[in-house]
């Protein structure tokens, strides 16, 4: 290859990167295989007080707070989509925090192996509380123990939207993007 041709090729590559970088985040396709291969930190136990601290540290971000359980088949369908969505919307400062309703005592035996196998990029905690309600009361004192439940918290940590039951990627994307773009 001549120097001239090489220059053209490199320029095209930089141009392509530039176009990609300039494309609004919401229009970029997310690579499902790539995002789910990015490992998140292992599952940790969290008490209600610890969850409150975790969420306070997220102030400034829009938080997708997803309640799930390893026994909840509908929950497991939507988690990979939420991981993909968070990766796509990360430049809008969107975070994803999962809380498994499995007890913390089963982290090593169940929750963490499960997470690593099926959605290693999912950042999740396991509840360290006497019951599910005391954990979820950190954000919602009127939770009705239905799974999955997903709360979209605004940048001040307030619940902007509560979603129950499985929703599609596009449904979540519409909801979260609107809240993220609201400031």
């Amino acid at each position: 290859m001549t120097l001239g041709k090489l220059t053209v090729v490199v320029s095209c590559v930089f141009a392509a990167v530039g176009v990609w970088a300039a494309t609004p985040v919401a229009n970029k396709p997310a690579d499902k295989a790539v995002v789910n291969a990015i490992a998140a930190a292992p599952t940790s136990p969290a008490s209600p007080a610890q969850l409150r601290n975790i969420l306070e540290r997220e102030h400034g971000n829009v938080v997708i707070l997803n309640l799930w359980g390893t026994w909840c088949a509908p929950c497991l369908r939507e988690i990979p989509e939420l991981v993909r969505l968070q990766q796509e919307l990360a430049p809008l400062r969107v975070s994803l925090v999962g809380v498994a309703m499995d007890e913390a005592s089963s982290i090593d035996s169940m929750v963490e192996p499960f997470r690593k196998k099926y959605f290693p990029a999912f950042r999740t905690y396991a509840r360290n509380s006497p019951d599910m309600d005391s954990m979820v009361s950190v954000v919602d004192t009127a939770w009705n123990e239905i799974l999955p439940t997903t709360y979209i918290l605004d940048r001040e940590g307030k619940v902007a939207r509560k979603i129950q039951g499985v929703k599609t990627y596009d449904e979540f994307r519409t909801i979260v993007t609107k809240i993220a773009n609201a400031g």
Partner: protein, 443 residues
């Protein structure tokens, strides 16, 4: 007007205080250093009070000694206690399951207890096991009984047929199959009915559970082979309920998955469980939910009167609703919201005590903790007293279990924090505050 309001409020308060005074204080039943949850209760023909619950020794080294590694606390046990003095005191709790840690401890898959006409105490519970067909972990349906007033319990019997497949990737929760979320009832002839939600035929994502049943015609000594009760459209996580009325009719409450809805249904058998009516949907507005509600349907019946209560997200507001039929189940009333002032209400249980229908549930009315509430009806569910919060110790109270006596009183058990507590309850003869009709849809 202000004077009248003051007088009325004072009278209402006096009645409420009298209601509290007529009822015994709550009693701690479980061991104080254990983590106890999900009690169930049954009265014997001798007036005894028999309770079971899921119990966990909090010592961490005892967790998952079974090595099953599944999603719920593996090392849990089933405990039993009994009162023979009307609930004033209870026996020291003791473990029912033979092998330590073998009970599948999920708070919304409650163990069950019933007492037969001859005093036999029947207990039904989910247990951890290994399927010999696949060598994979399973949660199975176990039955045991006591013929000596609860002093000892017999070797438990496995009542479900083991699956021949490994559906771990479908069933999840660390088990290859589940035979759980069960119900138990006994009729006047001593027939014992066990039923549960069964995943043996689940093969792919999206499949639902079936309901299976196993019957004993000899007071629990042995069981017939299990048979399919409902096809593969049973909400896999909504515990079944069973009720036998004075005419030995067997009612089964369940939640059916159909076209994206999960609604409460009732089926009834009038021939000792050999055949059942088609499931009848009893709700008003349907509940569209693709998720795990974890919500049973409580049922009671007396003659042509059939009563049910359930949580639904199909109505506005969401919460616990009550329906009833006065024509043997041909038609049901419009649903009545049970607790209009609650921020969230759940876990309803019904019982008949004499000529009174009692409904109990847990709810939050503010940003505080769950508390127990009750209301009652003396006109077959046509109208109810106003909701009353039960007087008990401070703290989170939830998951009530009830048994009614012919004298109109109720024996109540519940999970209080990490304890199991009990009390005797008698509703006052006077109506408290306002009544609410169930004849029209009310909010």
């Amino acid at each position: 007007m202000r004077k009248a309001s003051l007088i009325w409020s004072s009278l209402s308060l006096a009645v409420l205080l009298l209601a509290g005074a007529a009822n015994a204080g709550d009693v701690l039943v479980s061991a104080s250093d254990h983590k106890a949850q999900s009690p169930e209760i049954a009265l014997g023909p001798d007036g005894s009070i028999n309770m079971v619950w899921i119990d966990e020794d909090p010592a961490p080294e005892r967790h998952d000694t079974g090595g099953h590694g599944h999603s719920h606390v593996a090392t849990t046990n089933l405990y039993f206690a009994r009162s023979t003095n009307g609930g004033a005191t209870y026996s020291k709790p003791h473990r029912i399951n033979a092998k330590d840690g073998e009970v599948w401890g999920f708070s919304v898959s409650k163990p069950r207890v019933a007492v037969g006409p001859n005093g036999t105490i029947h207990v039904f519970y989910p247990a951890n096991a290994v399927n010999p067909n696949t060598n994979k972990p399973v949660a199975v349906a176990m039955y045991t009984r006591s013929t000596d007033g609860g002093a000892s319990f017999e070797q438990p019997q496995l009542v479900n047929t083991m699956a021949t497949t490994d559906a771990s990737v479908v069933v999840h929760g660390g088990i290859s199959h589940g035979h759980v979320f069960g119900a138990l009832a006994v009729d006047s002839k001593g027939s014992v009915y066990t039923m549960w939600i069964d995943t043996r035929d689940m093969a792919k994502e999206g499949d639902n559970g079936k309901a299976f049943m196993a019957i004993s015609r000899n007071d629990g000594k042995s069981f017939e082979k299990d048979t399919e009760l409902f096809p593969a459209d049973v909400c896999p996580c909504c515990q079944l309920t069973a009720y036998v009325d004075a005419d030995d009719r067997l009612f089964v409450g369940s939640r059916q998955v159909e076209s994206g809805y999960r609604d409460s249904t009732i089926a009834v058998s009038t021939d000792g469980g050999r055949t059942f009516s088609p499931r009848q949907r009893i709700v008003g507005k349907r509940w569209a939910i693709d998720g795990c509600p974890l919500k049973p349907t409580t049922v009671a019946a007396n003659g042509d009167n059939i009563y049910a209560a359930y949580y639904t997200g199909g109505e506005d507001p969401q919460g616990v609703y009550f329906v009833h039929s006065t024509d043997g189940g041909k038609n049901y009333s419009a649903p009545m919201l049970v607790h209009a002032d609650a921020k969230v209400s759940d876990a309803p249980v019904l019982t008949l005590a004499g000529d009174t229908l009692h409904l109990f549930w847990h709810a939050k009315v503010d940003d505080g903790q769950r508390r127990l509430f009750t209301r009652s009806s003396r006109d077959h569910g046509a109208s109810f007293t106003a909701p009353v919060e039960l007087p008990m110790a401070a703290g989170a109270a939830q998951l009530p279990a009830v048994a009614g006596r012919p004298d109109g009183s109720v024996q109540l058990a519940w999970q209080h924090g990490s304890e199991v507590r009990a009390m005797r309850w008698e509703s006052t003869s006077a109506r408290v505050a306002s009544t609410q009709s169930t004849n029209a849809q009310s909010k």
